[in-house]
């Protein structure tokens, strides 16, 4: 009985692992990227108001500063699928500001058009920790991330930045069920107890009957 209990425990663990691992759904990432001379300019930029957007909508549109100054920017677009609660991290020097827009970024119309949120600041916490902010997109829609230079004039080129975006189905950071995949180790754990059970049953069958 003891052996079966242990095996059953292993089987339960294996099955639960087979159900999948609750990890973030990685929507987008770019590492050590830079703005280049190929990137376009926008007039004016978002004000760095020190407030990072979050899923409860803490940040109101921060306003536009230096409306006559040209700033380089680059956009990244991806579909959020059924993970509309998006958490965006940005690591960069002190001159780049990250923001997010629903579907498209239209600087020629207004920096407020489609704005969902931004990091509130440039740089990094304590000089080393990436900034982050959170936005809620429309499910199965395109989210546009914008990296904007903040020094103006010719724009600072070559400053490295790393940008990541992870999606969840809710504010508890649960990931979309469709994207839960078994970990490779899970299959081994699943099969191991079954194999042991089979071996145990074979052993019992092979054991000679004892006299009463």
């Amino acid at each position: 009985m003891k052996t079966y209990t242990a095996l059953l425990k292993a089987l339960v663990l294996g099955c639960s692992l087979l159900a999948g691992s609750a990890q973030a759904f990685a929507l987008f990432s770019t590492f050590d990227n830079t703005l280049t001379t190929a990137d376009p300019f926008q007039l004016g930029r978002l004000s760095r108001n020190g407030v990072a957007q979050d899923w409860i909508g803490t940040e109101a549109f921060p306003g536009v500063v230096n409306a006559a100054t040209s700033y380089r920017y680059h956009t990244f677009q991806f579909n959020v699928g059924n993970a509309p609660y998006v958490e965006i991290s940005v690591s960069s020097g002190s001159t780049l500001l990250a923001s997010a827009y629903q579907t498209s970024f239209q600087p020629g119309v207004s920096l407020a058009t489609n704005w969902l949120g931004d990091a509130g600041n440039s740089g990094q916490f304590f000089g080393v920790d990436s900034l982050f902010f959170q936005v809620i997109a429309i499910p199965n829609s395109v989210l546009t991330l914008v990296i904007t230079e903040t020094t103006g004039a010719a724009g600072a080129l070559g400053g490295l930045f790393t940008l990541t975006a992870d999606g969840f189905i809710d504010t508890d950071r649960n990931d979309p069920l469709a994207f839960r995949v078994p970990e490779p180790e899970t299959l081994l754990l699943m099969l191991a107890p079954l194999a042991l059970l089979a071996a145990s049953r074979r052993a019992r069958k092979g054991r000679p009957a004892t006299a009463a």
Binding site: L13, Q23, G127, V128, D129, T164, D166, D172, R173
Partner: protein
């Protein structure tokens, strides 16, 4: 005749040196003169003044315009006066007893102390028979009289405490794989009570978080122990609740006083908490011996509680941010001028040389400013008989910016604390100077409390935060690998630059016995060395508590670990605290130095792996 001539010659030589501005020592003549004045005043302390800490003893003299302190009054931090209820006031003449009260902590016979306080027109704000401590508001004019009471062993101005907050919901559920634990294993901390101690968790904030669903309906505080402050306690509670959604949380303030903190640790254990966590450091806690708070931790852990605390945010040698100096007193010469011309033939003590080589350097310069510097040494708590003093000079060494020069004559703590109210604190370049006023060499611990030093060592974490019975937590940013909201992987997840390092040397047992009799120095490997911190966990996370968006610091790391412990205890209610810790240790992700190290201990605690280990062992 000859004696008069030698004194005249000495005075003339001093005058010449001062006029030319040339001196060969690290201290200018003006500074030496001030230090000698301070020592002269100390030498004349009454029995009552000898019971006081430096801030009280010299602060009272300054408040009463005593002529003896005129030469260095600019370096005395004014007493923080209040009314009888503790509301801050602007100090006036000491005869105005309606506004000139000071908050003090008094040790000795608590009933006798209470009588003395009441007789002096003061007000007792907290009394702990457990720890022989009374907190009170006393009229400035009556402090000497109360200190004279035979019931009083010693008296100190409230030392202050800090939370271990950096500034800033928690991504930790992903970073530590906690989501997997309750989503896949069905383990969520249910059945486990977790006690939380911090500055405050106001009833209003707890109610708001319950309404928003960030705290369970059972979240509460011990009666009358919500505290007042920034609600950092609720931010910690949020983290624990996120990590262990089924756990029941109870809060108690740790900010009333050290004695109250210790009592609340006991009270939370009595209320059924099997996991307790705090994020508080008291500046006057013992470094080389367990004080009252650590002894309270010892009591509850002996009864089965697993206790977590933040390591503190005072930097590390590895990250180049250390504001700590630890080492044995090294004689750097007398407190005189060079060439030796002493204004006080008795001398004022011996300077400590901070230099790690044979060269002499009688100061340690600040490389990051701070408003507080503490000095502790390896004498037993409440029984220090070696008298050390602490000075902070300007960068040129020509003026004293702050000092602490209480007397230690056998009943005091080995503790000096220099602070300043100046804007910007003690600036970069300020010189920290340690003097052995009388006695023998001891192991020293200088702490610039979130400053940094040019000559620095490891060993930042101290007090109950680093006690043997405490699980000490370092901090690593949830996105330290810069890969987004993902689980930690280990070596890519380095500690925060401010996370305090270990190890922690202890020379005395909690009762004050030398662990290695006759050997209380680093150089001779006295005492015992504790591996600290124990683990690392996430900080920089999201909470719903205003002011903690995000929540940085080892204050945020400790509740993540407490939440993981709650998950383990929920999965294995039969587990002892040591078994819980083993599960964490066996599954921690190695980070910082390979193997166990002074920065992250055994590494980053991981919920899912730890619970799996517990379920199979």
């Amino acid at each position: 005749m000859n004696k008069r001539f030698s004194r005249s010659a000495a005075a003339a030589a001093l005058a010449m040196l001062v006029s030319t501005g040339v001196w060969a020592d690290d201290l200018s003549p003006d500074v030496v003169s001030q230090m000698m004045s301070i020592s002269s005043v100390k030498a004349g302390f009454t029995a009552a003044q000898k019971k006081m800490d430096s801030n009280l003893a010299y602060g009272i003299l300054a408040a009463s315009n005593d002529g003896r302190v005129a030469a260095f009054s600019n370096a005395i931090t004014p007493l923080a006066t209040t009314d009888v209820n503790g509301t801050p006031t602007t100090p006036t003449a000491t005869s105005d007893s309606t506004v000139n009260f000071v908050a003090v902590e008094i040790f000795g016979d608590v009933d006798g102390i209470e009588s003395a306080v009441n007789a002096a027109g003061g007000k007792v704000t907290y009394k702990s028979a457990n720890w022989g401590a009374v907190n009170a508001s006393l009229p400035v004019a009556s402090i000497n009289a109360v200190a004279s009471s035979p019931s009083v062993t010693r008296m100190a101005s409230n030392p202050g405490a800090s939370t271990n907050l950096g500034s800033a919901s928690t991504q930790g559920t992903i970073s530590h794989d906690a989501n997997k634990t309750f989503n896949l294993l069905g383990v969520n901390g249910s059945g486990v009570k977790v006690g939380v101690l911090s500055d405050s968790a106001t009833a209003a904030r707890i109610a708001t978080l319950k309404t928003s669903g960030d705290l369970k309906a059972t979240a509460t505080a011990l009666p009358g122990q919500n505290g007042t402050g920034s609600d950092e306690g609720t931010a910690m509670m949020e983290i624990i609740q996120d990590m262990a959604p089924g756990a029941d949380l109870i809060f108690a303030t740790a900010f009333t006083s050290a004695a109250s903190f210790a009592d609340n640790i006991l009270a939370l254990a009595a209320a059924g908490c099997k996991v307790i966590v705090d994020d508080i450091s008291y500046f006057n806690e013992g470094v080389f011996q367990d004080g009252p708070i650590a002894r309270a931790v010892n009591q509850v852990t002996a009864s089965g509680v697993i206790y977590f605390s933040s390591a503190a945010n005072s930097g590390s040698l590895t990250r180049g941010t250390s504001g700590t100096f630890e080492g044995d007193f090294k004689d750097g010469g007398p407190v005189t001028l060079s060439p030796p011309v002493s204004l006080n033939e008795g001398g004022t003590g011996r300077l400590h040389s901070f230099s790690p080589t044979a060269a002499v350097q009688n100061f340690d310069a600040l490389t990051v400013s701070t408003s507080r510097v503490s000095l502790k040494w390896s004498d037993p708590l409440g029984a220090s008989s070696n008298d050390y003093d602490l000075y902070v000079l300007n960068a040129a060494g020509t003026a004293i910016l702050g000092f602490s020069a209480a007397g230690q004559s056998g009943t005091q703590d080995p503790f000096e604390f220099a602070s300043t109210n100046a804007s910007g604190g003690f600036p970069v370049g300020s010189r920290v100077v340690v003097v052995l006023y009388s006695g023998v060499p001891r192991a020293l611990h200088v702490d610039t409390i979130r400053g940094a030093l040019s000559i620095a060592t490891s060993g930042s974490t101290y007090g109950h935060n680093a006690a043997a019975s405490t699980v000490t937590m370092a901090a690593t940013y949830w996105n330290s690998a810069k890969t987004g909201t993902k689980a930690f992987t280990g070596f890519p997840n380095i500690n925060e630059p401010f996370s305090s390092d270990g190890p922690r040397k202890i020379f005395y047992t909690p009762t004050g016995a030398e662990i290695t009799p006759g050997n209380v120095l680093f150089a001779t490997n006295g005492g015992t060395t504790l591996q600290k911190p124990d683990f690392a966990a996430a900080d920089g996370v999201t909470t719903r508590t205003p002011g903690f968006l995000p929540f940085f610091g080892t204050s945020a790391a400790a509740p993540h670990a407490a939440g993981i412990a709650a998950l383990i205890r929920s999965a294995r209610p039969d587990y002892t605290a040591e078994q819980v810790k083993t599960a964490m240790r066996m599954t921690a992700l190695d980070s910082m130095g390979a193997g166990v190290d002074r920065d992250s201990g055994y590494g980053i605690v991981m919920a899912y792996a730890a619970v799996q280990y517990a379920l199979t062992h």
